[in-house]
């Protein structure tokens, strides 16, 4: 995993746990995303995914986000998308997972 990828996928994790994504979130970088998601999922607070700078989200990337949402929902914590880019909105709609990954209205 290159340094760039690491920075691009999960720039930092902050309170309330935010997973910041940017660039192409696809199968080529999905392992880095998984590491970041596991790290977020290990905490006991809800997660906000800041995804305004995501240029591409494919099914592999989406699958990791869904697995994170599933994990947190099992302990009554939710995952929300903040300022989703068009690419993110399109992927979520195509997969029909709006209810699993709702948009954070405070964004």
């Amino acid at each position: 995993m290159s340094e760039d990828t690491n920075v691009g996928i999960a720039e930092r994790i902050e309170r309330p746990r935010t997973l910041r994504l940017s660039g192409a979130v696809d199968v080529s970088r999905v392992r880095a995303l998984l590491d970041a998601a596991r790290s977020c999922g290990a905490g006991r607070s809800p997660v906000v995914i800041e995804c305004s700078a995501v240029e591409r989200l494919d099914a592999a990337g989406l699958q990791v986000l869904l697995a994170l949402a599933k994990k947190l929902q099992s302990v009554n914590l939710d995952v929300r998308l903040r300022s989703p880019s068009e690419a993110v909105l399109a992927a979520v709609r195509l997969a029909g997972v709006e209810s699993e990954l709702p948009i954070d209205e405070r964004s």
Binding site: D26, V27, V30, R31, L33, L34, A37, R38, G41, D58, A59, A60, L62, Q63, V64, L66, A67, L68, K70, K71, A91, R93, L94, A95, G96, V97, E100
Partner: protein
């Protein structure tokens, strides 16, 4: 008047039924062509069958089926015009095409995905076309009947897309496929099935666990929909279903209303009946209505002859009901040829596989048997024929050494015999090696070293679970998981299986089956205060028991002597756990019944009379009872259990200990 969904599904059912017949016709004619390659009428019949399937498939919008049949038809047309000759390779390709057609028909019937191997089969056909100079494109692309791809009417479809797990690793994004799919129509809605998604900690991010269900309103044909999946179909599962509209128009019915897409081949649920039979049934129903009117009129009448008229009407009802029953049962009867028809192909393919030369002789295909029985018969017969090919018939070299004709012979015959259908499977192969059976039985503990078994009893051991004398296990037979299932299946429908064999000469298996599984002739008997029915066809004789004929044999329990033979005796009340006031056998009747393990005497209290009984399954309303084949409603409205002689004999011989226990209880 527009066609309703019901009309369409009825027409579709007819299409599938006829298409199955066309495929069977094709297969028969192709097999016949191998021995008569110049018979133009045979080629014509194969062509006509393929053409009919193509026409029907196109009409109902089964584009995959129509497209495949189109290529097949083109090759057949070249054969028909004498531009190509039926070489063994072409024959193989055409026979395999018949299998592919069956798969496509099942897929169309279940609205399932295209079965695997269709593309490869189509390529084989196109290669054959190339070989005769037609070129792969000589047949042109299949055009739907209106010249456009697919039906034009807008319909609701539910497309299930289960991407292959390795799709991500291959750099493919299933969301793009979903996007393309949605572009085919409007009102699309996607649901992602996340049920296979593992826990985040166990997730392999390069494995696709997602499954998509897309509801779509589209004018695109199934074929056009499938085209969307062209690049992923080899590793994905795709199903196109037409959801049943829910109560509110325009919405989709939920899961469960959708046809399940499985590989299971549905059994035909329709029966084709000649109009002559239908007319006869309508006439009889008319007679019943007249008789009912006569009864009502007689009941309302105060004339002195009212009673006579009532009796006449009752007699007419009885007569008409019996006739109606026979006619209706006749509707369920189908020629046994419907199951025999598969064997020429089975024999051809397996003989080639084992390098044997075998000719199949089939007789009595027109013998009629209950439709339900035909379905039960197919698997056991297949196993017997496969066994004959694999173990029975020797290789041509061995046969030559033995002075036998190089070509082995398998016979498959059916005939009516004494109210039953008898099916014989025989071969002129190696026969059963009784010594090897004995050794194997001793080694596997099925036989005691000091047991003195005659040849017939030793041969019957091949029906024991897990028994096989095959030297090598093949994928056809030899795992010892067959003959016991064959026996159980045949006995399960009230049949009897028997076997004879001569070393070096061949083996003969006989299946004796009841004509129907729905109605049978029964003998009502009393056991204590309860009525039971014995199948009349199983009963050899019945007589009052004389105490001097009753013996107890060590290890075999009670036996009754009948003209010098010792027959195991089953005291039915003990076996069924019914308390009786008297156990004096001299006041009881012995009914001797035939079972595949020999004759058995069933001790009952009284014979009440015989008649036809309608068999009701116990499982539907209660549960299965070992030793009982079903139940019927007696004339007084009470339920009477129908005894399964095979089952009761098996149960009795396995439960001697229980019998002793009951006897001890009785003596206290």
């Amino acid at each position: 008047m527009p066609l309703t969904e019901k009309d369409l599904s009825r027409f579709e059912a007819t299409f599938f039924e006829e298409a199955e017949e066309h495929v069977a016709t094709m297969e028969r004619a192709l097999l016949a062509l191998e021995t008569s390659p110049d018979d133009s009428e045979l080629v014509n019949s194969v062509f006509r069958a393929a053409h009919s399937i193509k026409g029907g498939a196109g009409m109902f919008g089964f584009e995959d089926l129509a497209g495949f049949t189109h290529v097949l038809e083109t090759l057949l047309d070249r054969l028909r015009q004498g531009r190509d000759r039926l070489t063994p390779r072409v024959a193989d390709v055409l026979l395999c095409s018949a299998d592919t057609l069956r798969g496509l028909l099942d897929a169309a019937r279940l609205r399932g995905p295209e079965p695997p191997g269709v593309g490869a089969m189509r390529e084989s056909l196109e290669r054959e076309l190339d070989a005769v100079g037609g070129g792969a494109n000589a047949h042109g692309a299949y055009q739907a009947r209106d010249g456009h791809a697919g039906p034009q009417e807008v319909r609701d479809v539910e497309v299930t897309f289960e991407p292959g797990r390795e799709l991500f690793a291959r750099g493919m994004d299933p969301l793009l496929v979903v996007r393309d799919l949605l572009s085919l129509g409007e009102a699309g809605r996607v649901r992602s099935d996340l049920s296979s998604l593992p826990d985040l900690d166990a997730l392999d991010p390069e494995v696709c666990y997602l499954r998509f269900v897309v509801d779509l309103r589209t004018a695109a044909s199934d074929s056009a929909i499938r085209d969307v999946f062209a690049f992923v179909e080899d590793v994905s599962k795709i199903a196109i279903a037409r959801p049943v509209p829910a109560a509110e128009g325009g919405t989709f019915a939920r899961e469960g209303a959708r046809a399940e897409v499985t590989k299971t081949v549905t059994t035909a649920t329709t029966v084709r009946v000649s109009t002559e039979k239908i007319d006869k049934i309508i006439d009889l129903v008319g007679e019943l209505v007249i008789a009912e009117t006569m009864i009502l009129s007689a009941l309302a009448s105060e004339q002195p002859d009212a009673r006579v008229r009532l009796r006449d009407a009752a007699e007419a009802i009885g007569r008409n009901t019996r006739e109606l029953q026979e006619e209706v049962m006749g509707v369920r009867m189908v020629p046994v040829g419907t199951v025999f028809g598969r064997f020429p192909r089975v024999v051809r393919d397996l003989a080639a596989k084992f390098g044997k030369a075998i000719v199949l002789h089939v007789e009595g295909e027109d013998t009629e048997i209950d439709r339900g029985m035909v379905e039960q018969l197919a698997d056991p017969l297949t196993h017997l024929v496969r066994n004959a090919i694999d173990h029975g018939i020797e290789s041509p070299e061995v046969r030559a050494e033995l002075g036998k004709p190089a070509e082995g012979r398998i016979g498959l015959r059916a005939a009516h015999q004494g109210g039953r259908v008898v099916v014989d499977v025989d071969d002129d192969g190696a026969g059963l090696n009784v010594e090897r059976i004995r050794e194997k039985a001793l080694a596997s503990g099925l036989l005691d070293a000091d047991a003195d078994q005659d040849e017939q009893a030793l041969m019957a051991l091949i029906f024991a679970p897990g028994f096989s004398t095959a030297k090598e296990i093949t994928d056809v037979s030899g795992r010892g998981v067959g003959m016991d299932v064959v026996k159980r299946t045949i006995e399960g429908v009230g049949g009897v299986i028997s076997l004879s064999s001569e070393l070096g000469k061949g083996t003969h298996v006989r299946l004796s089956l009841p004509l129907t599984t729905a109605i049978m002739d029964g003998l009502s008997v009393r056991i204590a205060d309860q009525t039971f029915v014995l199948p009349l066809l199983s009963i050899v004789e019945s007589f009052r028991l004389k105490p001097e004929h009753l013996k107890t044999v060590l290890g075999a329990g009670e036996v009754v002597r009948v003209r010098g033979d010792a027959i195991p005796l089953v005291r039915m009340h003990r076996e069924l756990g019914i308390d009786v006031e008297s156990t004096d056998p001299s006041r009881s009747i012995v009914c001797v019944v035939d079972t595949s393990s020999g004759r058995v005497g069933l001790l009952v209290d009284e014979l009440l009379g015989q008649g036809q009984v309608v068999i009701k399954t116990l499982e539907t309303n209660y549960r299965r009872i070992d030793g009982m084949m079903g139940a019927t409603i007696a004339g007084d409205g009470r339920v009477a259990l129908i005894v399964d002689p095979q089952g009761i004999a098996r149960r009795a011989t396995g439960g001697r200990g229980k019998e002793k226990e009951h006897a001890a209880r009785e003596s206290n």
